[in-house]
Amino acid sequence: MNYQLEVSNITKSYGDLKANDTVSLNIKDSSIHALLGENGAGKSTLVKIIYGSLMPDSGEMRWGGNSYSPKNPFEARENGIAMVFQHFSLFESLTVEENIILGLDGVGLNQNFTDEILKYSKQYGLDVNPQQVVGDLSVGARQRVEIIRCLLQNPKLLIMDEPTSVLTPQEVSDLFVTLKKLAADGCSILYISHKLEEVREICSEATILRGGRLVQSCVPQDHSQKELAEMMIGKKLTELARSKINVGSEIFSINNLSKKSDDLYGVDLENINLTIRQGSIVGIAGVAGNGQDELMELLIGEKSSGDGVLSFNGQDVGLLGSHERRQLSMFFIPEERLGHGAVPDMSLDENMLLSRPDSSGMTSSGVIDWSSVASYSEKVIDDFNVQTPSSKMLAKSLSGGNLQKFMVGRELIRNPELLIVSQPTWGVDAGSANNIHQSLISLADNGSAILIISQDLDEILSLCEQIHVLSEGKLSEAVDMKNNGLEKISQLMVGGES
């Protein structure tokens, strides 16, 4: 068997932390190879070493059979390794062609690449218009631009970092067609992801990392999703299931909510209607930037939504601030952890006070009872399995998953009648995501209502009984999941009619 890339016994330490500890990985010719692992498992370190932006402490690599030790990404690209990053590096005000040229080594802007771009575009089904300005493109189209830019370098290995996290289901399946074609034409692909279903669909091999060490390399199709996930996190996952769905009476409704955005690049919300009942989990799916942030602001009460559009237990709450809404038992978890749901430079105790209904007893007429605050934050840390030495740690010192568990716990210990949460598991490791989903489910089982706004369609599908789609500031009716539900959601996400 021929290997395009052989990585053996790579070790890389940062101080006391071994980010990679004798990690090996072999990528066959013309194959799609998955690199799996939670946040902090050492995936990025390994990829950076392969791509030449980090030097390993020890270990060696072979590229096409020859010894390979790139000193910088430039050298890696010369060898035929290209990478599509999770966060695109495109200039929004330039055209597709200009962006592609700027990304190539040793090429001037005066050269014409239109034909070549169109050639690749056709060959691999990467639909782009070279003369279009990137700022006008959807996320999926931007990714296609990045891929074409890589292909122009005739790579033998294409590294893709979490490529589907921002795509609609349709875009994902288009991407998979492209990737399979590329592999068939001799370009191996290193596919970094935590979405196990995808990995099982397109990858012929998978290397799993945990805590900087190699767990094993395997054929993903030989294992169930659950087994793969358990290899990633190193412990058993609990199966997600609602024990009982007891949908009660209506608790919250949005009635004809329209709001022009103050921001030039914001999204105007148009005539949004939604009803939530006790004990139900309602999901709002949709691609980022379709009004999720604007809607969340109004739901939290950071901006006033005006008279008569938000009703909680029959009371008009549209003019209330977020603190007043919490007094009524509405609680919120925003998407951004650092800087929105938590203050990075403050301790967990202090962060506890961001959400402080008077009934909590943490403050009385403004005077803070720090011992009560600390007992609450310790309770959150215990009950929600937040890994931290103490509640005095700064919020920014926690990993994303741990901080998210803290933020979820902070709201859940108030036993909210209504919880509104945006992207509950964004950038969170699989183990923590599982914990968070589990606690949301048990909250709903106990009769609370939950509204989840998420771009992660799998999350919405696995948790919610009632699913809406937000697209260009408009919210769809609840999708009937019995008849081709997934297809309808997919159409709605790109702005089509159901």
Binding site: G15, G301, L354, G366
Partner: protein, 356 residues
């Protein structure tokens, strides 16, 4: 090679040690400068006069406390706004308006005896300072006008307003047209708390204010509100804090306290309103606040330290004919070293022995 590595948690030891380190470095640098510019004999005595004498001399020490009081009061007010990211740079102006307001009340009741007069003057001065700062608050809230510019420029207006008053309604009728007010009568003068010196009750009140501020910042939601607003504005909205109120309250507090300090100066050491009322306390208090890292108890100490530099600096001017810029060099170095040493709180220094 020396490397700075971020600490996981801020170092408690360094929070206390870094000011001491900064003071040591300042003293060492001052020593080096003196060695270069002075004769050998003078170096130690100048050094002594600058740093030690103000603490031991029975005349200079109370003077140090007299200077520290307004710095402390203004610094406390400013620190509250600074925590919230509200930059009131014009405390000097609010100080002057406060002094005029307090003094005007005292002069209106000239030769009227009464224990109520001083409290009334104090209230007038606080309201004066608040009013003056509220102009900036109004413009910022209503029209998003930058409060740094407004407060700073209004300082010059306040100083001119003072001289207009002193040439007009507040001028001493028996003062040979000098632009000065009457000398306040006894009921309008602050009680002296150290017999034979100029140390007045304002110093005690300054300490009380710093304890109240400490309580407010540590134990009250208002302290959290300004801290959160300053450090993460979106999180402040999430918590349900009204940012307009944060702007208004922090400007009112810093303005009111600056006004009170102006009244203490007028009814304390000055004893009248003169064009010499503005003493730059309003600007120096910015340094005081930052030296203390905006901590109320820290401000108690940093105001004493800066007052030391004033008193010691004046003393070496008088005794050794050194230029007045000695004081400024000293304050500047102190601030620089403080800011530099603060990095040790968040980072630790590691001597890197290994290659690369």
């Amino acid at each position: 090679m020396i490397k700075l590595i971020p600490r996981v948690e801020n170092s408690k030891a360094m929070i206390l040690l870094s000011p001491l380190l900064a003071m040591t470095l300042t003293a060492l640098s001052a020593l080096i400068i003196f060695i270069f510019i002075l004769d050998d004999i003078k170096v130690s005595s100048v050094f002594f006069t600058l740093f030690v004498l103000p603490l031991t001399d029975s005349y200079l020490f109370p003077e140090l406390l007299v200077k520290a009081a307004p710095l402390m009061i203004i610094g406390l007010g400013l620190s509250i706004g600074f925590r919230a990211g509200i930059w009131n740079i014009g405390a000097e102006g609010q100080y002057v308006i406060g002094g005029i307001a307090g003094g005007a009340v005292g002069l209106y009741f000239y030769n009227v005896e009464g224990f109520w007069l001083l409290p009334l003057m104090a209230i007038a001065s606080i309201l004066g300072g608040m009013f003056y700062a509220s102009i900036a608050a109004f413009l910022r809230i209503r029209y998003q006008v930058n409060e740094i510019l407004v407060t700073l420029m209004l300082t010059y207006v306040a100083v001119l307003f003072l001289s207009a008053m002193l040439q007009g309604p507040l001028r001493n009728p028996a003062g040979f047209n000098f632009p000065e007010s009457r000398i306040f009568h006894d009921s309008a003068m602050l009680p002296i708390i150290w017999e034979g010196t100029r140390l007045h009750i304002g110093f005690i009140i300054a300490i009380i204010i710093s304890l109240v501020a400490w309580f407010g910042i540590k134990k009250h939601m208002f302290g959290m509100q300004i801290k959160i607003t300053g450090s993460a504005p979106r999180a402040a909205k999430f918590a349900g804090f009204n940012d307009n109120k944060t702007v208004l309250y922090s400007l009112l507090i810093s303005g009111g306290l600056a006004g009170l300090a102006g009244f203490f100066e007028a009814s304390g050491p000055a004893g009248q309103l003169t064009p010499g009322l503005p003493q730059f306390y309003g600007f120096t208090a910015i340094i005081v606040a930052f030296l203390a890292r905006l901590h109320p108890i820290g401000i108690l100490f940093s105001s004493l330290l800066i007052a030391l530099s004033y008193v010691g600096g004046e003393e070496v001017q008088i005794e050794y004919n050194l230029p007045s810029s000695i004081t400024q060099i000293f304050q500047g170095m102190l601030l620089f070293y403080f800011l530099a040493c603060d990095i040790l709180i968040k980072y630790k220094v590691v001597l890197n022995k290994t290659k690369n």
